[in-house]
Amino acid sequence: MHNILESIALALQTFKTHKLRSFLTILGVIIGVSTVIAILSLIEGLNQAVTGQIRSLGSDVIYLTKYSMVRRGPAEIEKIARRRDFTPDDAIAISRLPSVAATAPVIERQWNKLKYHNKESGQISIIGSNQYFSKVSNRTVQSGRDLTESDVAHRRNVGVIGSKVAADLFEEESPIGKELTIRGKRIRIVGVFEEKGAFLGQSMDNFILVPYSFFEKLFPGKTLSIFDRAFSTYSIHIMPRPKKLDSAIDEVRELMRRRRGLTFDKPDDFELNTQEMLLDIYHSITQVGFVAIVAIAAISLIVGGIGIMNIMLVSVAERTREIGIRKAVGASNRNILLQFLFESVVLALIGGIIGIVFGILLAKLISAVSPLKAAVALWMVLLGFGFSAAVGIFFGIYPAHRAAGLNPIEALRYE
């Protein structure tokens, strides 16, 4: 058996003599591998971002809403809109449950522009909640102070702003003590939250938090569209005591059914969402993505493989005399088989390596020009290698077998 390095050198030698042809042959493999690597690393990047994001929402928080955050299918907006809204009183009742540590009623409205002297912010969120908002949403106040119970009780016109609002409106100045005006009402800034960064290009720090009691003064009346009635009313964020997630869910359900007067034969008219459910739904979506990748990979690698098989058959035909000579001086069928198999594997691997490099570059490029972030993992590179080697072997074996089976004299007589 002659040694592997020499076989590789021999295989590379034949590519040097047919550079263009070899390149065209492996184009299919290059395209296949690079697409797969690019898409996989983007999905992986998305996975990491989403998982991190969902986790950073604050661990084990339960979201009590009128609509399901995880159920797919046509949202029955009208039915959801007709459901009774939650109130801050619901939140107070829930906060007294034994398994519950903290509860925050949360209401949110988009606001187009916020001005301070000559500076203005883009669209921001105005959030109405209570002193537990920072706890259930895993945020800390960086400077100034948080909301207090008395702010809520006295409907004080105070606000804690996200770091992006602070940067947009006040730049280097301290925002503490400054006043903003929304709908003719002045809001005094008492604190700034620590930065959370961006998620899918969307800043997580572009909001102002006010006491919900003041929020109701800001946006009074029932001028809500059906969509807002379904999705923009109070939701209640509940943080269970440590290790009490399941019993907290049971207690909240029990309490809410009672408060909403649901008899035992009626289904819930509210939803209890957890992070686990959000992660599950996300994973089931990306699963579809993975299946699509496998399909793309399979198709492009089969196309690439057929290209390799074709060129190897041509190569065997062209080199029939060479095969005859090698056999005449003592090459065994296995020697010839391995020689041609090596060629197709090296060919496919070159395609695979180029494809891996291209795929990584492609992913980096997409990351650079879009909010998506690519995360290339070692297993993807190994997968690219493994796939292309497998293609080389699978589609190389038939031509190699044909070469190996040639009779030496017939091969030598071949013109």
Partner: protein, 230 residues
């Protein structure tokens, strides 16, 4: 077993037939050839074109198999050998020289000569050393890095002979080795073969040329696939 006084039998063919099919027509290239070759013999096979000389020497050189009849190499039946064993015999026991040289065009003279050593599993350093030595012995010391298209016909044939000799075979076959050469170069090649026999090698050579055949110690004449009278 060979008697003490006689030289031992290297190979032996009994009633060898070879039939080719050209479409529906059968071509009987060999029709019952009996042949015995002993150590250090120098045999010349002659005959008209199409009489089956190449067919016979290919079978003797284990490059092809007879349709009927038995062929023994050192008392072993060749028909019983596996593909791997046949490859090893072609590699170790037989040296074959062709009329059209059959060198690999992309390899240098040295690499062509070393090719059988590759399949013999020899290390690179040993391959180079041995191949260089034998090329030098055949007067090609200055040409070892040339490719076949940079060599004359005579030089190519000497490279091919070096390749046939590299594994010190038990028997050397040559099918019209001077057929593609002018007469002067042909004589130089023949001188090499004569010397090989003097050194104790066994040689079977196909030739058209009665002058060349004369230097052989035994002449076998083929006619229509049979051994005819001398």
């Amino acid at each position: 077993m060979a008697e003490k006084t006689e030289k031992s039998v290297v190979c032996k063919g009994i009633n060898i037939h070879k039939t080719y099919w050209r479409g529906k027509i059968e071509v009987h290239a060999l029709q019952g050839v009996d042949i015995e070759i002993r150590r250090n013999e120098y045999i010349s096979i002659m005959g008209a074109s199409g009489s089956g000389k190449s067919t016979l020497i290919h079978i003797l050189g284990c490059l092809d198999t007879p349709t009927r009849g038995e062929y023994y190499l050192e008392e072993k039946r060749v028909s019983e050998f596996s593909d791997d064993e046949l490859a090893r015999i072609r590699n170790q026991s037989i040296g074959f020289v062709f009329q059209e040289f059959n060198l690999l065009p992309r390899l240098s003279a040295l690499e062509n000569v070393a090719l059988p050593l590759v399949y013999a599993g020899k290390k690179r350093i040993e391959r180079i050393k041995k191949s260089r030595a034998i090329l030098e012995k055949l007067g090609l010391g200055e040409r070892i890095h040339h490719r076949p298209n940079e060599l004359s016909g005579g030089e190519c044939q000497r490279v091919a002979i070096a390749r046939a000799l590299i594994n010190e075979p038990k028997i050397i076959f040559a099918d019209e080795p001077t057929g593609n050469l002018d007469s002067k170069t042909g004589q130089e090649i023949m001188a090499i073969f004569d010397k090989l026999v003097e050194e104790g090698n066994t040689l079977v050579m196909v030739t058209h040329d009665p002058d060349i055949a004369r230097s052989a110690r035994r002449i076998i004449k083929l006619k229509d696939g049979r051994i005819g009278d001398a």
